[in-house]
């Protein structure tokens, strides 16, 4: 479709180019300025007062921030691991087998993607609270409840990504492996797994991103003394802006950009286009 380029004429071409430039400026100017101001030696957040690394030093020395960061990372790793295993198994089962109730399961898998954060947050809060009322199980809100909630929304995203990968693959290779006397496990380990690995990696990176991004759901199920970094930062922002938040934000931004780059590399390996 390289010939499309000729179809834009005169004014249209200019207007469209200008719009594209505007969109990119809109996307990147705020991020660029935030990064710039995180190095500014001024108590006011939006003013340049010379170069400094003080805010990053403060970030490294702030115990609360460090604690929240460690909770965030542990939650993200554990919930990603769990949701990758569960999500991949669900994807394999739904793409490869037909069994009774798989339509309902399909719907159940899509729901967490559709439901708004706030509703999901409310669901988890009432659920963990009512466990006490209904079966007398006292649940302390904190690390465990956060991780359980993150797995609940990540499974769906992982299985959608892995299914997209599986959908384009035929079963012939696995059948060939089994005809050649590979056990079911060997066929999976040496044939299926390597083929769907890009999908699994993509799903894992998505789960990591979602876990590290979430504010609303975590805020509802976090307990005193154990919050994640985004929830802690969100609390700080509500009390007011500060150069320390600038520095923390830039670190969080860097982490998510790293994940994007990794997922683009994973998709490259998949041989598909960037969408």
């Amino acid at each position: 479709m390289a010939g499309n380029a000729q179809q834009l004429r005169g004014n249209t071409r200019w207007v469209l180019s200008l719009n594209a430039v505007l969109v990119y400026v809109f996307f990147y100017a705020p991020i660029a300025l935030l990064i710039l101001y995180s190095f500014s030696d001024d108590q006011l957040v939006g003013r340049w007062g010379g170069f400094t690394l003080d805010w990053y030093r403060a970030f490294g020395q702030n115990d609360e921030v460090q604690n929240a960061l460690s909770v965030s990372l542990r939650v993200a790793l554990i919930s990603t691991l769990l949701s990758v295993v569960l999500g991949t198994m669900a994807a394999l089962s739904l793409e490869r087998f037909r069994f009774r109730g798989n339509r309902i399961f399909d719907a159940l898998l899509y729901l967490p993607v559709i439901i708004p954060d706030v509703t999901m947050a409310v669901m988890m809060l009432i659920f963990f609270t009512s466990l006490d009322d209904i079966i007398g199980l006292q649940v302390t809100k904190g690390f465990t409840t956060i991780t359980l909630s993150h797995v609940a929304f990540s499974i769906s995203f992982v299985s959608i990504v892995v299914r997209a990968r599986l959908a384009g693959m035929s079963e012939t290779l696995e059948e060939a492996a089994q005809d050649l006397y590979a056990s079911r496990w060997q066929a999976f380990r040496f044939v299926t797994l390597p083929l769907i690995l890009p999908g699994i990696v993509g799903g894992a990176l998505l789960a990591l991103t979602l876990s590290l991004d979430d504010v609303v759901i975590t805020q509802f199920v976090a307990g005193p003394g154990s919050t994640t970094l985004p929830v802690y930062v969100f609390g700080l922002i509500r009390r007011g802006v500060s150069p320390l938040i600038n520095a923390v934000s830039v670190v969080m931004l860097a982490a998510s950009v790293l994940l994007v780059v990794l997922s683009l590399v994973a998709q490259r390996a998949r041989g598909g286009s960037v969408t």
Binding site: V23, F27, V257
Partner: protein
């Protein structure tokens, strides 16, 4: 004999396969029922309950009181304000995303992929941080304010207004509009546009009666993808909006964490959920696939 044996063998094999399929899905199945379906049902149950004097919730004696509350002026205003802001956000996204996606679709493959990567980066970047960036920019004596003062427009005072919220929402969700629009414009049959021009239609006529109708699935998909999260937004209005512009998300959170009126919070959540499900059905009906 072999002709009779084969189906039997296949039936057993088929049954075996079905069982393995179910077993494999079982862990995720159980997890989602326990930590998703069950909580969902409990929320709906709570929306029919009553708040007692101690701020707790009585589950006995179901009623529609919490839903009746939705008709009260305060809640109704919040409902309409949320709808209105979500609609404005969607329209603004469409106005910028459409020409952008069109431009993107007319570039060469290399340029197109590069441009897409630079749309994906903000799409994946931390949402909280992106909202915070605008808080810094729009703040008192912030860069935007200084810029407008320098060029003689006076101070910028849009922080903590609905305008700032819309700005933040557009910033957050614009990629959700660009990507499906691009997907539908890109796979459009361009010879139809050429045909229209060859038959003497002006650019505007061609756009109105050929290009736009052809890209309609993308327009619908993108609009729903922007509208849904805008309607349920919580982080953006909390950071960029003021106390006077409470939206649905904040209202729900307040009902749970401060006002301790869980039935009302649950009923608003349920309504929100139903709206989303309806929108999603339309989305799939219209052939949207990119989630």
């Amino acid at each position: 004999m072999t002709a009779a044996a084969t189906p039997e063998f296949e039936v057993a094999n088929e049954r075996n396969k079905r069982r393995r399929g179910l077993l494999m899905a079982l862990p995720a199945y159980v997890y989602l029922i326990l930590f998703f379906a069950l909580p969902l049902i409990i929320v709906v149950v709570y929306s029919f309950a009553t708040r007692n004097r101690f701020g707790g919730t009585d589950l006995s004696g179901w009623n529609l009181e919490a839903y009746a509350k939705l008709g009260e002026p305060i809640v109704r205003d919040i409902l309409f304000r949320s709808l209105w802001l979500a609609i404005i956000t969607t329209v603004i996204c469409l106005l910028f995303a459409y020409p952008f996606a069109y431009f993107l679709a007319t570039r060469s493959q290399v340029v197109r992929n590069l441009m897409l990567v630079f749309v994906m980066i903000p799409f994946w970047s931390n949402f909280l941080v992106r909202n915070y960036a605008w808080r810094v920019l729009l703040g008192n004596d912030g860069p935007v304010s200084r810029l407008t003062e320098t060029i003689g427009l006076g101070e910028t005072t849009i922080l903590f207004t609905p305008t700032a919220v819309v700005l933040g929402l557009v910033y957050g969700f614009l990629p959700f509009m660009i990507l499906p629009l691009y997907a539908s414009i890109e796979r459009m049959d361009w010879s139809l546009i050429e045909a229209s021009r060859d038959l003497g239609a002006t650019g505007l006529q061609t756009f109105r009666s050929v290009t736009f109708p052809l890209s309609l699935p993308g327009v619908i998909a993108g609009s729903i993808l922007v509208f849904i999260p805008s309607l349920g937004a919580y982080v953006t209005p909390e950071i960029l909006g003021g106390a006077k512009t409470t939206l649905l998300g904040s209202y729900i959170v307040t009902q749970f964490l401060t006002a301790r009126n869980w039935p009302v919070g649950a009923s608003v959540s349920t309504v929100l959920m139903v709206v989303m499900l309806a929108a999603t059905l339309v989305y799939f009906r219209k052939g949207g696939r990119t989630l």
